[in-house]
Amino acid sequence: MDRRTIRHTLRGFIQENYLLGREFTFADGDSFLEHSIIDSIGILQLVTFLQDTYGVTVHDSELLPENLDSIDAVTAFLGRKLDGAASAGAPAAAQGAPGDRP
């Protein structure tokens, strides 16, 4: 999946669910936690969004800031998950596949 599309989709999700109309600009590399954009419940909502939208499974061991704390981090993490699923021969998420579900 095109990384630019992923970034755009993520930004839209964050704008709609966490910024709630606030005038706040943030860069793709900015930390969600440091900028008080998302708290730990927000992370759970983000994970649910990723799982539902892209058909991947995010394991407990992957709930780390290095994977989820910025648009850059989420895009890279998602890219790895989707690439892994694709190279394992799984069909694309858009076709309703479970991605890397064990």
Binding site: D39, I41, I43, L44, Q45, T48, D60, L63, L64, E66
Partner: protein, 329 residues
């Protein structure tokens, strides 16, 4: 001013006699002069914090001007009521028993909570028990993401990560407990023209470990400036029964026994206590680490967690906002 190498427990040592005297004077002045109330209601849970507050109020106001409220419900540990009674009896303060189970049933507390659990554990039902827990946050930069631990009637347990809806559903339903207790504390306070004494310690108050308009509500909070280990020092000085002082701090909120460590702090309370002190006193992680038995990066992680919790729980401390006068609050 701090000098020399840090000693873990030494940092939080206080003079219990002097501190007791200071708090007692303050309670007396706050209740009688500032609040113009005739005494204090204390919700006594059988834990160390509420036991210490009851002792301090009894010393400050006189035993006959303290009302110890015992408010168990169906999920409370049986020893909570026994220990609460023991404190009230030892102090000689009047106690009132209010079983809050019928109120909680009427509000749908258990039903709503169980429905939320069932969204992630569909078989959850009669005879099952549950609690929610956090992962260990000391050893990795993890998010504080909750899981539910359920125990089937046959004793088998399993742990499932919560969805946001399940987490919020369980917490919102469970918060009925703290709010119901507070409602009854104010009922008994109104009846007697008393004030309500809250029981949070510094860790809980600073880190937002309370329910807004539940256990977070009170007219005075006599131990909110004390670290947990300082509360234990006062408890020993005030002769709080040893059984209470030895009891692990629990939330006494879920049907499975749950420590405060599992539910909120995600690390031993002694460690959290010392790290909060270190952060409040600008002690560099490299200086604090040997005193608390942690690695430098672990202390750095705890410092970050403390700061994050302060940010995300600011809402809990925020009073109602007014159209005028609250700009920029």
């Amino acid at each position: 001013m701090r000098t020399g190498p840090l000693g873990g427990a030494e940092m939080l040592r206080l003079d219990p006699a002097r501190e007791t005297e200071r708090i007692v004077l303050r309670i007396r002045e706050q209740v009688f002069d500032r609040l113009r109330r005739k005494g204090a209601v204390v919700g006594v849970s059988g834990g160390v914090d509420s036991s210490v507050v009851a002792c301090l109020c009894a010393r400050a106001l006189g035993t006959e001007r303290v009302c110890a409220l015992l408010m168990p419900e169906t999920d409370s540990a049986p020893e909570s009521l026994r220990l609460g009674r023991r404190v009230a009896d030892a102090l000689g303060v009047p106690s009132v028993l209010e079983d809050i189970t019928p109120i909680l049933r009427g509000a749908g507390c258990y039903e709503r909570r169980d429905a939320a659990v069932r969204t992630v554990v569909p078989e959850y039902g009669a005879g099952y028990r549950c609690k929610i827990v956090l992962p260990d946050l000391l050893d990795a930069d993890r998010y504080a993401v909750f899981s539910v631990v359920v125990q089937a009637p046959d004793g088998e347990t399993r742990q499932v990560r919560l969805t946001p809806e399940a987490y919020l559903g369980i917490v919102a339903a469970t918060n009925f407990k703290q709010r119901t207790r507070k409602m009854l504390e104010y009922y008994h306070a109104d009846l007697r023209q008393y004030a309500v004494a809250g029981t949070p310690n510094r860790l809980e108050y600073d880190q937002g470990f309370f329910v807004k308009n539940g256990d977070g509500a009170a007219d005075l909070k006599p131990i909110a400036h004390l670290y947990k280990s300082q509360v234990y020092q006062l408890a020993a000085y005030l002769d709080v029964p040893e059984e209470i002082r030895r009891r692990p701090p629990t939330t006494d909120t879920y049907s499975l026994a749950q420590t405060e460590e599992e539910f909120y702090f995600a690390m031993p309370l002694e460690t959290m206590d010392l790290c909060l002190y270190g952060k409040n006193h600008d002690i560099p992680p490299a200086d604090l680490a040997p005193a608390v038995g942690l690695r430098v990066e672990q202390v750095e992680r705890v410092y970050r967690t403390i700061e994050t919790r302060r940010k995300v729980t600011r809402y809990l401390h925020t009073p109602p906002l007014l159209v005028e006068g609250s700009e920029g609050d």
